[in-house]
């Protein structure tokens, strides 16, 4: 019971961090069909900007400024880069962002150096919120949950209650039709791209001091974000939310459940010994492969439901 509750909390926090990162990418992907490889790089830039800003102005201004800077950068990338590449097709756009990821990583190394930077949790939040069966639940994690929940609420409100949001929603599922109706689709695209980058930047601000801020953080965070986005499905923010939580819980619970395929087979009466072929594979306990399960789940869902969990469009 204790383990269940603690794991639920842990899974929730991790899932919400994934959501913060993946939500921007889902919007961009659904709208423009571009799988933005540089999304995790923008996340990294958000963390670094926050580090610099918080050194001079403090954490709370950084919370606003860093995402704004990332959004601005995203707008510039879209207007001067992606728009030009758009006529060469989706694959060309994807490759463009791929090259961009390389350059951003190197630029970060050149500007801030190769080592991790001391971007820390602000003192106001650096204490324990409450205790769960003897384990501390840090206030900062509570803050993370709060920010991600607020963010989800804000996006949902904007998409369903504002005019721009309605246009975006329409463009998410029927981009050509929206253009035919006379809306300035390129401007909508730029806005969404910038917004997506701002969200990634916000995730960076929040996550950078929770995790470690270093040049390779984009490279390590990248794959799991793609998994979440594709798993959740195109065109659906709710799908992204559910997928993030599922991935968070799967990875968390996999760690605490000490079973393996051999145990499952033993339950139906098949015994595995050291000499059974593939014994090495069958006796792997779940915790060892916990972080790989998202990829397995991705492959499985793409086989049977290529739209993803709640996708409204085919890829």
């Amino acid at each position: 019971m204790e383990l269940l509750l603690v794991s639920l909390l842990n899974g929730l926090v991790y899932g919400m961090l994934l959501f913060m990162l993946a939500s921007g990418l889902t919007l961009i992907f659904s709208m423009m069909g571009v799988l933005n490889f540089a999304h995790a790089s923008i996340y990294m830039l958000g963390a670094y900007f926050a580090y610099d800003v918080s050194r001079h102005l403090g954490f709370w201004p950084a919370l606003v400024l860093a995402p704004a800077l990332c959004g601005l950068l995203g707008a510039l990338i879209e207007m001067h880069g992606l728009r030009r590449v758009h006529r060469n097709g989706h694959i060309a756009e994807l490759l463009f962002t791929f090259g961009l990821a390389f350059i951003i990583e190197k630029a970060v190394q050149m500007i801030w150096g190769l080592l991790p930077v001391p971007y820390r949790v602000p003192a106001a939040l650096d204490r324990t919120l409450f205790h769960v069966y003897g384990t501390n639940f840090p206030a900062y994690r509570g803050f993370m949950l709060l920010v991600s929940a607020l963010m989800f609420l804000a996006i949902w409100l904007m998409l369903t209650r504002t005019r721009m949001g309605l246009v975006i929603q329409a463009a998410l599922t029927h981009p050509e039709m929206v253009g035919a109706l006379g809306h300035n689709v390129p401007r909508v695209f730029t806005t969404v791209f910038a917004g997506g980058c701002a969200l990634a930047g916000l995730a960076g601000v929040i996550g950078g001091n929770y995790l470690v801020t270093e040049p390779s953080m984009a490279f390590t965070m990248g794959p799991i974000v793609f998994v979440v986005v594709v798993f959740g499905g195109l065109g659906s923010l709710a799908g992204c939310f559910i997928a993030s939580l599922i991935m968070g819980f799967v990875q968390t619970f996999a760690v605490v459940l000490e079973y393996s395929l051999a145990d499952a087979l033993a339950a139906v009466g098949i015994k595995i010994t050291a000499s059974t072929p593939l014994a090495e594979l069958l006796t792997i306990p779940l915790p060892r492969i916990g972080a790989l399960l998202p990829f397995v789940m991705l492959i499985v869902i793409l086989l049977f439901r290529p739209r993803g969990l709640m996708g409204t469009r085919d890829t």
């Binding site: 794991s7 842990n10 900062y140």
Partner: protein, 415 residues
């Protein structure tokens, strides 16, 4: 169709490069040491910091006359963490008849290099090269995979594991093991359990985990398990984010435990752990800047302090100075820079290192035997790490003779 002029341009370019490279090899009779490590990409910091410390050390050694009156010269090759690039670097080194190749990071690259050096030396007896291993610690490299031409200048995993076990205080009886799921982490897991059984049979292993390398971002579920097990110490060989995130998660959750690591003292560790690690985090290391203060060796202290003021990070690679002191002594003893003679002189050699201890290059397996330390990350030391205000203080010193472990090396010696 490929235009012929494209090939011409390519040929010219290659010719130019090789003219440059060839020209270098015959310059001033320096003793060239090829050095390969990741200098770009996600692990660039490792190679970069090593390079800075190596250059500082070489300048110092050259200032003391080098070897046989000739200076050492370091030639760096970026291997981008790929074994194939390290092997290309080896080819470049042998093309220029360099007597040494050095490599510090990555047991996969080290394994590739040992085999390649062996095969090259066997197939080209007139152009041999010595492989100086400055940091690839997998135990197999001086046991099953040992080679006459390979000299390991850092304690291997087995020795570090034994140091870790020896550092456990008497009142710690329940430990938790958490390691990365690949050759290195699996070696740590196996060796720690072996030495616990041998040296501390009173200690119970209450948890034993393997995690996929570099994939886990959220360690809080692991921390819950550790807490539930009631462990008093966490023993881990993790490096990089796998180590820092684990420790951060543990401290965030308020885990009252001792952390024993192998890499917390390297670049980035202190920054990532921060002041909340005070008194909790320990690391197994060959050197830290406060040992000289503790043992009163003022000349060594001054030497490392000078490095600190010139560069922006702490000096941890005293082992590199020991390497060059060994090379210097071996070349002087052999009276030549012929790798065959240097190799014969190097094995079995004993020198005194910068802390005044006797260090031996063991003949059976070409493994270095030197003292090892366990430091605790704490306030109140003279030299802090990475500007955090906290630094390393020696908790336990394990003398070299205690680490003289048996080995299974069946070394094939050249006739």
């Amino acid at each position: 169709m490929i235009k012929p002029c494209r090939w011409k341009a390519f040929t010219l370019a290659l010719a130019a490069t090789l003219a440059l490279a060839a020209g270098d090899a015959f310059a001033e009779g320096n003793i060239k040491v090829a050095y390969t490590d990741p200098l770009s990409g996600p692990f660039a910091q490792v190679g970069d910091q090593n390079l800075q410390q190596l250059r500082y050390i070489i300048d110092w050694v050259n200032g003391r006359g080098g070897a046989l009156g000739r200076k050492f010269e370091l030639v760096a090759f970026d291997n981008k963490s790929q074994p194939s690039d390290a092997l290309l670097a080896l080819k470049s080194a042998t093309d220029q008849n360099m007597p040494f190749i050095m490599q510090c990071s990555g047991s996969n690259i080290a394994a590739a290099l040992i085999e390649a050096v062996d095969k090259h030396n066997e197939r080209n007896p007139d152009n041999r090269i010595i492989y100086v291993n400055c940091g690839a610690v997998a135990t197999e490299l001086t046991n099953e995979k040992c080679s006459y031409w390979h000299y390991r200048m850092d304690a291997h995993v087995g020795m570090k594991a034994e140091t870790m076990v020896r550092a456990l205080p008497k009142d710690v009886t329940r430990v938790y093991l958490l390691n990365q799921d690949y050759l290195f982490g699996q070696s740590v897991q196996r060796d720690v359990k072996t030495f616990l059984a041998k040296l501390r049979p009173d200690v119970k292993v209450v948890g034993d985990e393997l995690i996929p390398v570099g994939k886990v971002k959220d360690f809080s579920p692991y921390v819950s398990k550790i807490k539930a097990s009631g462990a008093q110490a966490l023993l881990t060989g993790n490096w990089g984010p796998d180590m820092t995130l684990l420790i951060k998660a543990g401290m965030d959750a308020g885990l009252d435990i001792r952390y024993y690591t192998m890499y917390a003292h390297l670049g980035g560790g202190a920054t990532a752990i921060g002041p909340q690690g005070n008194g909790k985090v320990r690391s197994i290391m060959a050197f830290h800047e406060n040992i000289a203060v503790e043992t009163g060796k003022t000349d060594t202290e001054g030497w490392t302090r000078q490095f600190r003021t010139q560069h922006k990070f702490d000096f941890y690679a005293a082992g590199f100075r020991t390497i060059f002191e060994f090379l210097q002594a071996a070349i002087n003893k052999a009276g030549s820079t012929d790798p065959n003679k240097i190799a014969a002189a190097l094995e079995g050699l004993t020198i005194t290192d910068l802390l005044g201890h006797q260090v031996t290059m063991r003949k059976d397996d070409h493994q270095i035997l030197s003292e090892y330390f366990v430091g605790v990350f704490t306030k109140g030391v003279k030299y802090d790490s990475e500007g955090t205000g906290l630094g390393w203080k020696t908790e336990v010193t394990v003398p070299a003779k205690d680490l003289d472990q048996p080995n299974t090396c069946k070394m094939k010696r050249p006739t």
